[in-house]
């Protein structure tokens, strides 16, 4: 229980839990939607999803500042490409949070004359720009590491290698399967990079789910 308390004490932890619950409900209600006697369950799942979504929207108020501070930090990065990608990603994320806050104001009833569609479109565009910038940076990092691996292979003659280098150098980069294997080795050695890539890729390429359903998180609630 201590681990749970430590985890949920951090703001991110709770938000990720609610997010996981929200998407689980979305998935379950999608799967059960056309089943005969499951209407009540589907309705409850949709209501739970809606509560999680509006709660998380409220929870996100103020994250614009987080994103701006992160953007300021990433402008200090030494490499040009990650600096550009991450700073742009953080700035578009800040814009996304602003749109999100405006949508929350409308859903709460404080500003009922806000054009929901327009702001939702803007929020989606900012969210996807941010994701694409993150992916670009991940691909840059992968290609840099691939290049490093190839360089190491070229200068292998006189040095005594350690076990990891031996693994990489045994693979030749001249065919697709071996290239994929090399890529796999690199990702295995750098789990944060793998996780960082897997997250946004999942959102963009989920099969069988329409664009409208991907946008459910941005839906405002009565």
């Amino acid at each position: 229980m201590e681990a749970f308390v430590d985890f949920t004490n951090r703001s991110q932890g709770r938000d990720q839990l609610f997010r996981a619950t929200q998407y689980t409900c979305m998935l379950l209600s999608y799967l059960l939607e056309h089943k005969a006697d499951k209407e009540k369950l589907v309705m409850k799942l949709k209501q739970l999803e809606s509560s999680m979504s509006s709660g998380r929207k409220m929870f996100r108020l103020g994250n614009t500042v987080h994103a701006l501070v992160a953007a300021r930090r990433t402008t200090q990065l030494p490499d040009v490409v990650p600096r550009f990608c991450l700073t742009t990603s953080n700035l578009t994320r800040a814009l996304y949070f602003i749109c999100d806050a405006v949508l929350w104001l409308r859903s709460v009833g404080l500003q009922p004359d806000i054009d929901k569609e327009k702001w939702r479109n803007w929020a989606t565009k900012c969210y996807y720009s941010s994701l694409l910038m993150n992916l670009a940076r991940d691909w840059y990092e992968i290609s840099w590491r691939l290049e490093q691996a190839v360089q190491k292979k070229k200068t292998k003659e006189n040095s005594s290698w350690d076990k990891e280098d031996q693994e990489l150098n045994c693979l030749k980069c001249d065919s697709l399967p071996s290239f994929l294997l090399l890529l796999f080795q690199i990702l295995k050695r750098h789990p944060p990079l793998l996780l960082d890539m897997a997250r946004p890729t999942n959102v963009i390429t989920e099969p069988g789910i329409t664009f409208k359903e991907i946008c459910e998180p941005f839906r405002t609630h009565r």
Binding site: M1, E2, F4, V5, T8, N9, R10, S11, Q12, G13, R14, L17, F18, K44, Q47, L48, S51, M52, S54, G55, M58, F59, G62, V65, H66, L68, V69, V108, G109, L110
Partner: protein, 246 residues
């Protein structure tokens, strides 16, 4: 801005800000109602307050576990009275959060058959018990500190001389009360965490007293008390040395 990022990275901190906003809505709503504001504005404020309340309930979903963990830790305290008060306070808080979770499930539509009124009353009862236990703990700490101070003053040859001079019994009582009050103020002034805790718990006390109908005040007063205690709570998060330990 860095301060804000660190601050709101703590889940509890955000919840306190929303609590302050919720009670501020109640206060402003009551003030506007007295000044004859339109029903549109009042409805908007009430809706915002309801949204903030529901959002906070969602944020609090894991807090029972947290309170039970805190109770488990408090059992190992050396001082018996503190151990009893703090453990009991945390246990009551855990029960309050459990009732709160049930209320959320009802409001979110998961369990529509929940009797909102009954569970609301239950949750406020546990909240009231927790606050009473916390205030008892504060009183105990104040008493110990006052005794320590009085002992120190007596060692230096204190104010007993004046008491002996007063011949009237009432005068003696008055003087004694004066001495105690001055001692109390001195103890509170030199212990800001304790003072903050006393004020926070006293402000919070009016909320369940009003909601349970034990001591009815106005919604504006409840809003003011809630806002004050939330601000004090935010202060203890921003400056951890202000939090009363253990």
């Amino acid at each position: 801005m860095e301060t804000w990022v660190r601050f709101s990275a703590q889940s509890q901190a955000k919840e306190r800000v929303f609590r302050a906003a919720q009670y501020a809505c109640a206060l402003v709503g009551d003030a506007l109602r007295r000044n004859g504001a339109g029903s549109g504005v009042l409805d908007g404020l009430r809706q915002l307050e309801a949204h903030l309340s529901l959002g906070r309930k969602l944020l609090r979903l894991g807090n029972s576990a947290e309170a039970l963990e805190a109770a488990k830790r408090a059992i190992h305290l050396s001082d018996m009275v503190l151990r009893f008060c703090i453990t009991l306070g945390h246990l009551n808080r855990a029960m309050y959060f459990a009732c709160d979770n049930v209320l959320w499930a009802g409001k979110a539509g998961l369990v529509p058959t929940v009797d909102q009124e009954k569970w609301s009353q239950r949750s406020f009862r546990y909240y009231l018990f927790a606050l009473i236990v916390n205030l008892s703990r504060d009183a105990y700490e104040i008493r110990i500190l006052m005794e320590r101070e009085a002992g120190g003053k007596r060692a230096k040859g204190g104010e007993n001389g004046r008491l002996l001079q007063a011949d009237n019994g009432l005068q003696q009582l008055g003087l004694r009360l004066q001495v105690q009050l001055r001692l109390l103020l001195h103890v509170l002034r030199s212990n800001p965490p304790l003072l903050l805790d006393v004020v926070k718990n006293t402000c919070d006390l009016f909320i369940p007293l009003d909601k349970l109908g034990l001591y009815k005040t106005s919604p504006g007063f409840v809003g003011l008390c809630g806002l004050t205690s939330s601000i004090l709570s935010i202060l203890t998060i921003l400056h951890p040395w202000l939090k009363l330990k253990p």
